[in-house]
């Protein structure tokens, strides 16, 4: 047992007191990571001890197929102890024959999706789960095929299991269904909500998401080398691509045991904050668009556009910058551009202030946002909501402060908290964060050291090392978990986007609201389904009559493109 800090010792003691001999092993693979190997039977007690007796916050669960390593399946529940800057990993080895484990969702509601996900992905059954429906796998996905097992090829398309209808909740008596999606104007991405309504009042909803699944995690840990992984991570999300690539690189760097040079960390900070600025401005516009306020959309995007030009000038692309690599950066910010950053941000700041003034005094905006989409602090904590929605509910969490990365230990960020818990509070939090970002960029450019931008990696990277990294995205905290493998590529790569927990809070937020408020309520989370649904394999859903297999689709396409066809 190698435990260094006081806090780690305390946690270990607490856990040892609760589960006794079931605590098999404690180690601290990274200075900020504490790994407990526990007996699967004690997982619930351990989780209970962590969330009830410590300020630990649930992050995510990783299911790993460790059968090739002779360890069965590993279920790793990750927690964050913000006050001590510690990650806690509860690692349970599940027998490869008897694939079941106690669900912790009854104790940690935020684990709902994650547990359903590892059930679908690697086939470990969470027993006692309150909602044991399939989450990520399509309804016609054959039983017993688990895409994230090591023996599943990333490009294998399993045959359909037949015309199985999805298990969807039926509307309560007296209500009807208003479907939202998968194609819906204010859902920029495909997702399918079934709103149960009486008139326009929402009395419940069901979510059938995971339309956006591109199998990124599987690609990442089977088809991609460390070299390519940041580029893939960048495309998890087109808006906060740099955040994901940074997070991925940092996790790998931690696992490898290197650190990016100071200059690279400062540049990362600047880029991250630039991304936050353009993302928040974008969100402001989209939120305005959702409530029909086109002028605010146009104006906030007008203010945002110079930032995009700036990022193109710095990185060579407006988005998905392609700047990160493991160990640092691929390109530097030259001195003239540093000056230009200041120059571009000045009018942004000025106009932002004008916009803020206008919004605060706008009674119609207030009428649409105040008291709407309320997420109580208690529920937010239970679901483990992150980012602006959490901060708007009075929870002071911010990965930049809780687990400082990049240059945030030297250029500390301020946490912007509001108590309103409604959409308006989320607007204010984001407006505050915009100002904070501008300040941070200014501070970081002023303090930016010189030197190299990349640390060279040793030839061979040992397998079996883990790295956990969090980055505060505009939407909240993104978590990347990496376990290194052989062959120059990761063994398991797990991404938790901020929308993942936030989206689970939606049913509570829309309950009792009207149909008119649903888009803005969902929008107020700034949801990003593409981030959320990276891992799930979702096949063509079988509705009543039509099932298109890939072959059928191809055939139809050929018929259509043939001369004399429909077109």
């Amino acid at each position: 047992m190698s435990v260094e800090s006081d806090a780690a010792a305390q946690i270990t003691q607490l856990l040892g007191g609760r589960i006794g001999a079931s605590l098999l092993l404690v180690e601290q693979p990274q200075p900020d990571t504490l790994r407990f190997e526990i007996d699967p039977g004690a997982v619930r007690a351990a989780a209970k001890a962590l969330v009830q007796d410590t300020p630990a916050r649930y992050l995510i669960t990783v299911g790993i197929d460790e059968r090739p390593l002779d360890r069965g399946f590993a279920i790793v529940h990750l927690f964050s102890l913000d006050s001590e800057h510690l990650f806690l990993a509860l690692d349970c080895a599940v027998d490869s024959e008897n694939t079941r484990i106690d669900a912790i969702t009854p104790i940690v509601p935020g684990a709902n999706w994650a547990e359903r996900e590892f059930r679908d992905a690697i086939g470990v059954e969470p027993e006692g789960h309150p909602d044991p429906r399939r989450l990520m796998l399509p309804d016609d996905w054959p039983e017993g095929v688990y895409p994230l097992r090591r023996d599943f090829r990333y490009d294998y398309h399993p045959p359909s299991a037949g015309n199985v209808r999805p298990v969807l909740r039926e509307p309560p008596k007296g209500s009807s269904v208003i479907p939202m999606g998968p194609f819906f104007p204010t859902l920029e991405e495909p997702a399918h909500w079934r709103l149960f309504v009486e008139g326009e009042k929402i009395v419940g909803c069901d979510y059938r998401g995971f339309y956006n699944h591109r199998a990124i995690e599987k690609l990442g840990d089977s088809a991609m080398t460390y070299d390519k992984l940041p580029f893939l991570a960048e495309r998890i999300c087109g808006i906060c691509g740099f955040i994901h690539s940074t997070c991925c690189c940092q996790a790998l760097e931690k696992a490898i045991g290197i650190q990016a040079p100071a200059r690279a960390r400062y540049i990362r900070t600047i880029m991250l904050e630039l991304e936050r600025i353009h993302s928040h401005l974008l969100w402001l516009g989209i939120a305005a668009h959702i409530v029909g306020f086109e002028t605010l959309l146009m104006q906030s995007w007008r203010i945002r556009e110079p930032v995009m030009w700036l990022t193109e000038e710095i990185s060579g692309n407006r988005k998905t910058y392609g700047m990160n690599c493991v160990g640092g950066l691929r390109r530097d910010i030259p001195a003239d551009l540093t000056a230009k950053i200041q120059e571009v941000l000045l009018p942004v700041e000025r106009e932002l202030r004008a916009v803020r003034q206008a919004i605060v005094g706008d009674t119609t905006i207030l009428a649409r946002t105040k008291g709407v989409g309320v997420l109580t602090r208690q529920w937010a904590e239970q679901i483990a909501v992150v980012g602006p929605p959490a901060r708007a509910s009075g929870i002071a969490i911010d990965a930049r402060v809780d687990h400082p990365y990049a240059a945030y230990d030297e250029v500390p960020a301020r946490i912007c908290v509001q108590e309103g818990s409604d959409i308006w509070a989320r607007v204010v939090v984001r407006m505050d964060e915009l100002e904070e970002s501008l300040r941070l960029i200014r501070a970081a450019t002023a303090a930016m050291p010189g030197g190299p931008i990349r640390t060279e990696i040793a030839e061979e990277i040992p397998p079996g090392r883990i790295g956990i990294s969090v980055v505060e995205a505009p939407r909240g905290e993104a978590v990347h978990f990496v376990m290194t493998g052989g062959d120059n590529r990761p063994y398991r790569w797990r991404v938790r986007a901020p929308t993942y927990p936030n989206l689970q809070a939606v049913p509570a937020m829309v309950q009792g609201e009207t149909v008119a408020d649903v888009p803005i309520t969902v929008g107020s989370l700034d949801p990003c389904f593409s981030c959320t649904e990276r891992v799930e394999a979702v096949d063509i859903r079988n509705a009543k009559t039509r099932v298109y297999s890939r072959e059928e689709l191809l055939r139809m396409w050929q018929e259509k493109s043939a001369p004399g066809g429909e077109r």
């Binding site: 490009d155 294998y156 045959p159 009674t363 120059n488």
Partner: protein, 150 residues
């Protein structure tokens, strides 16, 4: 309320019209911009390093006969990361400034390059000349085709 709204309208008017004249006037991207890839057929010697590092598997390599290696750049799915440009030992690949790449035919988004290769004296198969990139060849060659798909 009406008055405050009118004031908002005035704030908006202050910015004036900002619409750029593109496409009737050209609009150049910034100098660092990574646009469409160009390949210099005279420089490429078919090492395949680019294919190896490409995250999107854009570059397909096939040896048709003993003397010819075909490099097909399916750049319709290019992610413009610029890795190929970085690793090309001969600077044969270049990320141009061109972004006006819209087309109505998918085949316009393909570059096909045939490189004459020296065959191995012993086995008769062609091989790329040894390069500093051999180290990278060790890992993760992503199969381009439909792989294990049924």
């Amino acid at each position: 309320m009406l008055l405050s709204k009118l004031r908002e309208a005035l704030i908006c008017l202050k910015a004036g019209r900002v619409t750029l004249p593109y496409p009737s006037a050209p609009h150049d991207p910034s100098p660092r911009f990574r646009g469409k890839i160009t390949v210099d057929p005279d420089r490429c010697f078919g090492c395949g390093g680019c294919a190896n590092v490409c995250p999107a598997g854009v570059i397909l390599i096939h040896d048709t006969d003993q003397h010819t290696r075909v490099l097909e750049f399916q750049w319709r799915r290019c992610t413009y990361c610029g890795r190929c440009e970085e690793v090309c030992p001969e600077q044969a690949i270049h990320m141009s400034q061109q972004f006006e790449t819209a087309t109505d035919r998918p085949e316009d988004l393909v570059i096909r390059l045939e490189v004459f290769m020296g065959p191995c004296q012993r086995c008769g198969r062609c091989f790329p000349p040894p390069t500093p990139l051999d180290r990278m060849m060790v890992s993760g060659f992503r199969s381009g085709g439909n792989g294990g798909r049924q």
